[in-house]
C-alpha cells in the first residue's frame, strides 16, 4: 500500500527487474484477506499463482519475508511445466 511515488523511488534505487505495484486503494489487499480493518494496515504475505491462475503457495506474516517457500514452489512448477522426466533407458 505504498504510494506510487514511494515505489518508484525505491524501484529506481535498487533497479528492480519485476513489476512493483501499488495497491493504494487497498482493494487487492482486501481481496486477498490481508487487510486489517481495525488498524488500517495490511499483512505481509507471499502468494504463488500458477499459469492457470490457481494458488500454489501462501505464506503470511513475518515469515513471508523469507522467499524460500515461494522459491521451492516455483521450482516445482518449473519442473511440472517441463513435464515428467524421461525414465532412463536400460542398457542390455
Amino acid at each position: 500500500m505504498d504510494s506510487f511515488a514511494a515505489n518508484k523511488a525505491y524501484a529506481e534505487k535498487i533497479s528492480v527487474t519485476f513489476p512493483l505495484l501499488s495497491d493504494w486503494k487497498r482493494q487487492t489487499t482486501k481481496d486477498y484477506g490481508l487487510y486489517n480493518e481495525v488498524s488500517g494496515y495490511g499483512s505481509r504475505a507471499t502468494v504463488v499463482v500458477d499459469r492457470d491462475g490457481i494458488i500454489q503457495h501462501v505464506e503470511q506474516g513475518r515469515t513471508a519475508i523469507d522467499p524460500t517457500g515461494a522459491y521451492q514452489v516455483c521450482d516445482l512448477l518449473q519442473k511440472k511445466k517441463s513435464g515428467p522426466s524421461k525414465p532412463e533407458e536400460k542398457k542390455p
Binding site: D31, V47, V48, V49, V58
Partner: protein, 73 residues
Amino acid sequence: MKRLSLAIVLIGLFCLAAFGQAAPAPPQTHLKVGDKAPDFTLNDTEGKPVKLSDYKGKKSVVLAFYVLAFTGG
C-alpha cells in the same frame, strides 16, 4: 500496608485493562492452495496497469505483499 498492596494491585489491574489489551490480531487470509487467485489490475511504477490474468497461460506469478516496505511508516 494491606491497603497499599490492594491499591497497587488495583492500579495494576487498571493498567492491564486500559493499556494491556493485545494489539488487534493480524488478518488471516481466507485463501488457500487450490483456490483461484483473485484477479486485480494495479499500476506499476510507470503508471502502466498490470493485470494478474494477463499472465494466465503464460507464466507463474509470485505475489509479494510487502506493506509499507518502502516508506518510513
